[in-house]
């Protein structure tokens, strides 16, 4: 996928002026936030579960090589194959190779952010394969030819009316207008594709080291049909999505659905362990897991290791007021919101992503809901630090910081400057007590008045009072 993060500001402004987007985003996010809050309030041990989940993830990351090897052996023992992809290109080539070998024509896909990350669909389509996204949201944006704008609700930016338009154009009328009718129509269209599919590609919410199972959770059951009806099942997953045992999975299942969609559990939780065995009534003939590194191992042992705990629940973006204002597309790559603002610079580089760590008030709401307690604001600040050190931050800002530091390090000078500023701004503010324009502060006064100071600084008044 192209990286349009350098145009964050421009895209954000366009998004802010789009009332349809505002309507679409507002409704669904509010639902997620409120439902999560209700369920969390009803589960007294939720905070303890978050601690446990964080600890399990940390343990796995500390011993990742061990668990990956165990997973590899377990998959092989179950008759499946594990493939290791260092980067996006290797991941694409591995999958293209499998599809070619089995002479695939139609490929169905369950939702997988990793496949977005490695830009799989474009590569498959270029080779002439018919690729059908089966997750309703993914299907909608595939029709719209758009990237996802949310990691669990990829079409969250679309209103029902827009979906009606898309379906009418793609399926031919009559136009459906209710959610139920739209879903039924998508079901009927997709049902046929599952049976035609030669290869089914899904993501993996959890890879279980103990058993070699990959687990997906969905609300639509589309993932199950994708992976059981095709002749070949390919799982694409990041190397960090390993958990040691099935016991651990049950812990994550308890926090994932609550954090993501505000459900106690998703409708379907499906385990795949190897291909169809003799005597099985269904299941794929081949089972492949493509483990994608693509920059993840570089995060191990460093300042950003905590980010590898992410279970892709989307709670951080659901609760982020910046995401809520501009939507997911402004972020310019696969992962939006707070987690994306950390991951995108790490995956695609600091230079093209200046705005992402900066377009954040560090209000901390994301961290307060993250089920695996990732300190997102701290990681964003660390990225700002790296930008500063590498000279990526704008020269104007660097100069301003230099001046500020010079003055602030000299309390006498600082107080003198403040006394002058207090008087100057007070007189500019006049009787109204506020300034409508202020040179060099256009970012403030574009939308707000500047409340004028009282006229003298606190420190000078305090000193006067004491003497």
């Amino acid at each position: 996928m192209d990286v349009s993060s350098p145009r964050f500001k421009e895209k954000a402004v366009i998004a802010l002026a789009n009332p349809t987007l505002r309507q679409a985003l507002g409704q669904s996010r509010k639902g997620f936030v409120n439902k999560r809050a209700e369920l969390v309030a009803a589960l007294p041990e939720f905070e303890a579960l978050r601690d446990q989940a964080r600890d399990v993830k940390n343990h796995v990351l500390e011993n990742l090589d061990h668990y990956l090897e165990r997973f590899d052996s377990a998959v092989t023992a179950a008759g499946g194959h594990v493939h290791w992809a260092r980067d996006a290109e290797e991941a694409r080539n591995i999958i293209l190779g499998i599809c070619e070998r089995v002479q695939a024509r139609t490929i169905t896909k369950g939702k997988s952010m990793v496949s977005e990350e490695v830009n799989l669909n474009a590569a498959l389509e270029e080779r002439g394969y018919t690729v059908v996204e089966t997750d309703l949201g993914e299907y909608i944006i595939q029709l719209a030819k758009e990237p996802p704008s949310h990691i669990i609700a990829p079409a969250i930016h679309k209103t029902k009316e827009q979906v009606s338009d898309l379906f009418e154009a793609a399926h031919g009328g009559p136009r459906k207008t209710t959610v139920a009718d739209l879903v039924t129509e998508a079901r009927l269209v997709l049902r046929d594709k599952y049976f035609k599919a030669d290869v089914g590609i899904t993501g993996g919410n959890y890879l279980v080291a103990e058993t070699g199972s990959s687990i997906i959770v969905t609300n639509e059951g589309n993932g199950d049909l994708t992976q059981t009806l095709a002749k070949v099942h390919i799982v694409t997953s990041g190397i960090e999505r390993i958990v040691p045992t099935l016991e651990d999975v049950s812990l994550f299942l308890r926090i994932l659905a609550r954090s993501a969609t505000g459900q106690e559990t998703e409708t379907y939780t499906t385990l795949s362990t190897g291909p169809r065995r003799p005597g099985d009534v269904d299941g794929p003939e081949e089972f492949h897991v493509v483990l994608v590194d693509n920059g993840r191992s570089k995060m191990l042992g460093g300042k950003f290791q905590d980010m590898l705990r992410c279970i892709r629940c989307g709670a951080c973006m659901n609760h982020c007021p910046v995401y809520g204002a501009v939507g997911g597309h402004a972020y310019g790559w696969v992962y939006p919101g707070p987690m994306g603002s950390v991951l995108t610079p790490l995956f695609v580089g600091l230079d093209a992503t200046y705005d992402l760590p900066n377009a954040c008030t560090l209000n901390g709401r994301c961290q307060s809901v993250c089920p695996v307690r990732i300190p997102l604001p701290e990681l964003l600040r660390e990225l700002r630090h790296q930008q500063h050190q590498r000279g990526i931050s704008p020269p104007v800002q660097r100069r301003a910081l230099g001046v500020w530091r010079f003055v602030a390090e000299r309390p006498g000078l600082y107080q003198f400057a403040n006394r002058l500023a207090a008087r100057a701004l007070k007189s500019l503010g006049g009787r109204e007590g506020r300034l409508r324009h202020l040179p060099f502060a256009g970012g403030w006064t574009a939308l707000r008045d500047l409340p004028a100071p009282e006229g003298k600084t606190f420190l000078e008044l305090w000193q006067a009072r004491k003497t």
Partner: protein, 251 residues
């Protein structure tokens, strides 16, 4: 009597000294001796949040030195005091000389209202305010320092004051330090959402514990032509919310 060093936050010092005097009065009423060291400027947060950790460290050293002799360091801002409490120790990680000093300062540093209630045991104030107020939970105080119940407890004791909660009181107002000037359009949407929630309460006064957020919201209210009053919570609690509110002119 505990000796308290009052941390004069940048915005309070420059824009709203009344908040400093209100803080001093509340602390003195709670039985503290209040002193204000003159060798202070800024906690360093603008540098820290802009990724200039060296600048932040330089200013942190200045604050640590200036406030070393006090029993407590108290400031009328959740944001600045969270910097002292949480960020200073992190800034000096691995520095054997400064880390212990930073930790000692952090342990003695408090946001004003949580200090009054949690440390001094204050549960009521002798102030009156006629009006219906709504309270915005500023993010750093709320999530960094757990300031939530304390202002509400104290406001509950103000004679004549009625508190009505807004929806999404815990959602950021869009200030975010330099964020609001770097991303004015996004910040503008956030503050408008916030002010819509404020307006829906029907309150005539908006209160909060951080001048950055208050100036952001007051500035936007004035631009919209609203006459809603905006005060720092300390001003109301100290009975000093008698003149013009923030951005209102002649007091």
């Amino acid at each position: 009597m505990p000796r308290v060093g009052l941390f004069a936050t940048c915005l309070m010092n420059l824009f709203r000294p009344t908040v400093g005097f209100a803080a001093a009065r509340l602390l003195e009423d709670a039985g503290c001796t209040v002193e204000v060291p003159m060798a202070q400027s800024c906690c360093g947060q603008p540098g820290y949040n802009s990724g200039d950790f060296d600048a932040a460290r330089a200013l942190a050293k200045q604050v640590i030195t200036a406030f070393e002799g006090f029993d407590y360091v108290v400031g009328p801002s959740g944001s600045c005091m969270a910097t002292l409490r949480h960020d200073y120790p992190k800034l000096f990680e691995g520095d054997p000389a400064w880390r212990p000093r930073a930790e000692a300062l952090a342990a003695r540093s408090h946001e004003l209202l949580s200090f009054l209630t949690d440390v001094c045991g204050v549960s009521k104030v002798a102030a009156a305010y006629t009006g219906t107020v709504t309270y915005h939970d500023s993010c750093s105080g709320l999530r960094g320092l757990g300031v939530k119940a304390q202002p509400r407890l104290l406001l509950g004791s103000v004679e004549g004051l009625q508190l009505t909660e807004m929806q999404d009181a815990e959602v950021c107002c869009g200030f975010g330090g330099t964020f609001c000037v770097k991303y004015p359009e996004i910040s503008g949407r956030m503050v408008d959402d916030k002010l819509a929630n404020v307006a829906a309460t029907g309150a005539d006064t908006l209160l909060g514990g951080d001048l950055g957020c208050l100036m952001n919201m007051a500035g936007r209210l004035r631009r919209q032509g609203s006459t809603l009053k905006v005060f720092h919570t300390a001003e109301v609690l100290a009975g000093m919310a008698t003149g013009g509110g923030i951005g209102e002119g002649e007091r």
